[in-house]
């Protein structure tokens, strides 16, 4: 299997989700399995497919800070994607390239992240269902969907983290315990920068190496069809209130 690797690029939230879906469609039609790295410009909150937007997101705070909000096609939790603080990836390939079991396929792809973090001297572990931890603290969250014979897994790797900012945009279950909750999240979340003086590009290079290790691969780009389809999907789905406010 010859993987296409799409190098890091930054897009708005709607375009990012639309590109992942456009690639899924092209893989379903016989296109190459793809590893993609990306960032969010402006910063954004992505919601899991089943989450209630009003329960999860401080809408006024996001609007005030110029933060986009998009619902993902995958389940899982709400994520604040800081423009500088994280790297997102997607892996899109035929389902047959991965174990049939959902947990086992998470474990396999998360293994690539674990290999990448090892290059930066970190001893990371897979924590089912969909997290990666270092020293007991979460450094990466991941989400998967399967459709038309295609597996999409996307996720984020925290390079640096600002928990206060995260919870100025995400809602806390109980305002009375906001400070306590932030303190507790700080105890449970880590990032690459907590483990060394790495710049974001070093984190990215480690990810490229870890993801492509032992695979036939070549750097590539979106085809014109994928690009046009992504633009259409961004307009028709991901920018639409009907989609983002579905729940």
């Amino acid at each position: 299997m010859n993987w296409r690797v799409l190098p890091y690029s930054e897009n708005d939230a709607y375009t990012n989700m639309a590109i992942d879906e456009a690639i899924c469609e092209s893989v379903a039609a016989g296109g190459p399995p793809t590893i993609r790295f990306y960032g969010w410009k402006p910063g954004a909150v992505s919601l899991g497919y089943f989450q209630c937007i009003e329960h999860e997101v401080d809408l006024a705070a996001c609007e005030g800070a110029g933060i986009d909000i998009v619902r993902r096609r995958t389940g899982g939790g709400a994520v604040y994607h800081d423009q500088d603080g994280e790297i997102t990836y997607s892996v899109i390939a035929s389902e047959t390239a991965f174990p049939k079991g959902i947990l086992e396929s998470y474990r396999e792809i998360c293994g690539w992240i674990i290999d990448s973090l090892a290059l930066l001297g970190m001893n990371a572990e897979f924590k089912p269902i969909n997290d990666i931890i270092v020293g007991g603290k979460k450094i990466s969250g991941n989400a998967q969907t399967r459709r038309n014979g295609v597996l999409l897994q996307h996720g984020t790797i925290l390079h640096s983290v600002d928990v206060e900012k995260m919870f100025s945009l995400l809602k806390v279950p109980d305002e009375k315990i906001r400070d306590k909750m932030i303190a507790s999240v700080k105890e449970r979340v880590t990032c690459v920068r907590h483990h060394g003086e790495f710049i974001k590009h070093e984190t990215y290079e480690a990810l490229v190496t870890g993801f492509t290790k032992g695979k036939e691969h070549a750097a590539g780009q979106l085809t014109e069809n994928e690009f046009l389809r992504a633009n259409a999907l961004a307009q028709e789905r991901y920018r639409k209130k009907e989609w983002n406010w579905m729940r």
């Binding site: 497919y49 089943f50 329960h55 389940g75 959902i102 947990l103 269902i129």
Partner: protein, 91 residues
């Protein structure tokens, strides 16, 4: 009527039930769990709608499990959702 719960393993799930007299008019399940394929969530919700509000946990669970013959729920189970439905209704 609403019940939110942290499921062992870490997923936070919320079941909201709207009644029309003694009948379940609407069910809304939200949270950070996974379901493949995702759209089956509508079918899960609809499978409970129209039932008597007094329906037992076993009945609700069976309805949800019937939908799950063609879908896979990850991070929460049909039994959890049925229990949460009763909690939402019973308070």
């Amino acid at each position: 009527m609403r019940w939110e719960e942290k499921i062992p393993g870490g997923k936070l799930v919320c079941v909201e039930v709207t009644a029309d007299g003694e009948t379940v008019a609407k069910v809304r399940i939200s949270g950070d769990f996974f379901l493949h394929p995702e759209e089956k969530i509508d079918e899960i919700e609809r499978s409970v709608e129209g039932l008597p509000l007094s329906s037992g946990e076993a009945e609700i669970k069976a309805r949800i499990e019937a939908v799950l013959e063609k879908a896979e729920l990850v991070g929460v189970s049909a039994g959890d959702l049925a229990r949460m439905f009763r909690k939402a209704v019973d308070g």
